[in-house]
């Protein structure tokens, strides 16, 4: 054991490591891909996925007819996001107007609204959103929950006021109306929602693509044979390949956080260290995915293609850009296997809620577990092929 440790720290590893660094330095495309896509994507998603949703036409069925219910409606109005188009007497009439496209959203205040509020019980307010433009619908839902939450803070500390949002589908697809309930959502601006999620997506995307290309390059060029004839152990070879990538990719964490802070004004309220550490875990998971891809491919081109096959589901099914709640029921548990999902939750919670390890440990351990499995499985496969 001592001997292996000595071997491991000797100049051989250093030589391998230097060689990888020099190759990366010469590989301008790689350096560019570490900087340009993350920057572009963060800007793109931060700005472009933040459409100005204003003056949504709101139809109201107020069965409560109380000052409290009127206050709720006016809170919607005052937000500037919603504009009360007209009042309806029944939910049927409201949904007909939604179907006809006369409204963007419909609010139904139940008759027991004020009573339950006064008793400190949970109240369920229904919001119908025209889901033809699903992006607009999501954002409208987000605003609505925020408005209600703010109101609930003001009206009563004791009782949670909840809203259940129904997405009204185009008439023919009505049977598939999902029921979405949004609770406390701190992301009052969608860029705040998007950017921490993007950080995870980028770390996985860049990590896997760059690692796959690097790991497979030597196989493609044929130099791997020469390398195997040297006394270098396969674990040394892999370590030397992964370490520089890990260092470089970790810079992407700072890159994205800086853009978030300086351009979008996103704060980090919790521990920066914890955020960075979990970011490193996420990076390592990305490298694991990339290495795994490299073991299934022979050329860099194949590896890139496979990367493009693997990455979209990882980012789409992560809750990083769209809420997990918007996914079909059966798919939701699967997202727990997705490292991006856990990191998105961790990142948002640290950045906005300022919570720490004591709250986030289930996600941190999940992320750690996934990363360990990914990296050890991929390294095992890669070694076997050496």
């Amino acid at each position: 054991m001592r001997k292996t440790l000595q071997d491991f720290t000797n100049q051989r590893l250093w030589a391998l490591f230097m060689k990888e660094l020099q190759q990366i330095r010469r590989n301008r495309r790689l350096v560019i891909s570490l900087i340009v896509p993350p920057t572009l994507l963060v800007f793109l998603f931060g700005f472009a996925l933040n459409p100005q949703v204003r003056n949504l036409r709101l139809g109201v069925v107020d069965d409560s007819h109380t000052p409290e219910s009127r206050e709720l409606v006016s809170a919607f109005f005052e937000s500037g996001v919603f504009q009360v188009e007209s009042y309806y007497t029944s939910s049927d009439a409201l949904s007909r107007a939604l179907d006809a496209g006369d409204l963007d959203a419909g609010l139904i205040v139940p008759s027991n609204f004020a009573k339950r509020l006064a008793r400190g019980e949970a109240v369920d307010v229904q919001l119908f959103v025209d889901a033809v433009d699903s992006n607009k619908a999501t954002i409208a839902g987000g605003y609505a929950s925020r408005i209600i939450a703010a109101l609930s803070d003001r009206l009563t500390q004791a009782s949670p006021l909840t809203v259940s949002i129904k997405r009204a589908q185009p008439p023919r697809a009505r049977s598939a109306v999902p029921r979405v309930a949004l609770f406390y959502n701190p992301g009052l601006r969608s860029d705040w929602f998007i950017i921490p999620g993007m950080l995870g997506v980028l770390l996985i995307l860049n990590g896997s693509l760059v690692a796959a290309a690097t790991m497979v390059r030597e196989k493609e060029a044929g130099t791997v044979e020469q390398l195997l004839m040297t006394p270098a152990e396969s674990l040394e070879i892999i370590t030397a390949k992964i370490a520089p990538l890990f260092l470089l990719l970790s810079l992407d964490i700072w890159l994205v956080l800086s853009i978030g802070y300086f351009v979008f004004g996103i704060p980090v309220r919790g521990s920066l260290l914890l955020l960075f550490a979990t970011g490193l875990l996420c990076t390592l998971a990305g490298i694991g995915i990339g290495t795994l891809i490299a073991t299934f491919t022979k050329t860099q081109q194949q590896a890139q293609l496979m990367g493009f096959f693997v990455n979209p589901p990882l980012s789409l099914l992560s809750g990083a850009m769209t809420p997990v709640e918007a996914m079909p029921q059966w798919l939701r548990p699967l997202t727990n296997l997705n490292p991006v999902r856990h990191f998105a939750i961790i990142a948002r919670s640290i950045m906005f809620k300022g919570v720490g390890f004591e709250t986030l440990y289930p996600h941190i351990f999940a992320l750690l577990g996934i990363t360990l499995v990914l990296i050890s499985f991929s390294v095992w496969r890669f070694r076997k092929q050496l």
Binding site: D7, N10, Q11, R12, W14, A15, L16, M18, K19, Q22, Q23, R26, N27, A221, G222, T223, E225, Q226, L228, M229, T230, P231, A232, E233
Partner: protein, 659 residues
Amino acid sequence: MSADAVTEGTAASTDVFLQKPLEDAVPIRVRDLRKSYGALEAVKGVSFAVRKGEIFGLIGPDGAGKSSIFQILGGVMQPSDGEASILGRTPRDARSMIGYLTQTFSLYQDLSVAENLRYVGELRLLSKEEIRERSAHYLRMFDMDRFADRLAGRLSGGMKQKLALACALIAEPKVLLLDEPTTGVDPVSRREFWDALIPLAARGMTILVATPYLDEAERCHRIALIHEGRIHATGTPAELRHSLGLERLEVRANDLARAEELLRKARGIEDVQRFGDRLDVLVRDVAQGERSVRETLKDLNVTELHLREPTLENAFVATLRELEGDVSLSPFPRARQTGMPKRNTTAISARSLSKRFGDFQAVKGVDLEVRYGEIYGLLGANGAGKTTTIKMLCGLLEPSGGTVTLAGERDLRSSSVRQRIGYMSQKFSLYDDLTIEENLDFFAGVYGVPRREREEKKRWVLSFSGLEGRERQLTGSLPGGWKQRVAFGASIMHEPEVLFLDEPTSGVDPLARRALWRMINDLADYGVAILVTTHYLEEAEQCNRLGLMVAGYMVAQGSPSDLKTAQRGTLIELITDEPQLAMKILRDEMERWRVSLFGDRLHVVVDEDEDTAIKKLADRLKRNGIDVVRAYREPFSLEDVFIQTVERARREGKVAPED
């Protein structure tokens, strides 16, 4: 010798010039051609001319400028200066009359032979009738008509090459440009390919062919030696061989290393080079030279001394040496702390080694032993199992059966074994995206060369590869031959006990090749066991012992001389006035492999003794109206050995015949 050799043609050919338009008699004319890429001048004023029906060889190492000349003549690239004309037109205008074959053939592997030909024909807008006729014609001519329906991907190397040639011919060009058509192809396939070229030339096709290999040069009518963008000599192979005014003595003696050293300093000796189990000594005067050799080596017991014709390699080396002086070889800085293993003990040993890939048995029960201090050459056709064998010997591939011992150990993958071996693969030994220095640093580091020795060793590799002052250059920008030298240097920096070299000198220029082999010999003299794979027979000549592989079997082992003397039959060289026809007649009644054409000389392998055979051959040709000008017995070359051995294996049923 003038570069513009047309002007010094015979009287008859001068008459031809006067009678016919020049462009008809001399389809390819190149005058003072230059090509620069930025600051680098690749072609520095080259002039030559190729006559109708001539096979003209451009012989030179990688980076000599051959490909640039071909690209200009093919109309793909413009020259920087000078003139190149084909059939009196610019190459671009003459494109429809040029058949151009590059190193990588554009065959469609998943189309059949006939479909490949049809596709090319249709591209050239030939009618269905023409395509059918010409395909049939060339397939018959190349002895391939049985394979019309076979997929191109499933043809042997030589067959693929002939199919590519047929594709180039289907548009009936008047000029063929062949840029290294046989690089990476084994001797059997190469002979097949050249046998196809010769009748074409006989029918008036003008052929310009580039090759780095001097054994192919022997088959051309005329050749030009090109080196670093300049042509240094032009003439027939025989003219060039004799242009030196030197004779070659093959000397065998007891301690060759010592003998070489002594002769290098002796008076009256122009040049000495070691080839495996013999020395080639070039002398100006035979009698005086012989005396000098015997005198110098009187303590070393000269066992054999034969007078032979100089080879083209001798000529090329001598020409280059006059131009730039010999490659000076500084001694390798040895710093080995531990002693070398004892000479003549076993370094590599394999017992009934076999490898199976699915249904395919790539290596079949190979026994092999390489001792310390020995250079062992592993020879074989493409697909003979050479690469698989060497990979099993050095531990890159797990054998399906049999055992391998390497440097005394059975666990080939252990770090300690690999520390003691050096490995240089043909193409991929260095990282193209690192500089030369970074590559050397990497290999020194990964092999744990002590820091205090590194500088000296790096300097040695740079001086050995002639790249001093260029260590900051990216390795990928070096021509193949230079890279080979750096790779070789990098593979011996850690002073291995066992060295694996996979085609170490392909594409290396003759002077550098000589330096490389001197170094290999030096290592062997020091006690290193060296295993070389090659399918170039010039390289094989340099080995102490050879193993010949055919279809996964080890079919013959022994020193080059042993293998040559062990050949059954006699090799007769015939010079006739109609070599083409003579070959056809003799092939009709003898087995194909027994007869082959080298330029204007016929090589015939017979089973009878010399006199009877010559008489019979002469009679046979006489009846068809062909006169034999000269006929004599020639010693077998390694190529002959190789081809006969493959034939014998085929007769014994070890190799399935091509169909």
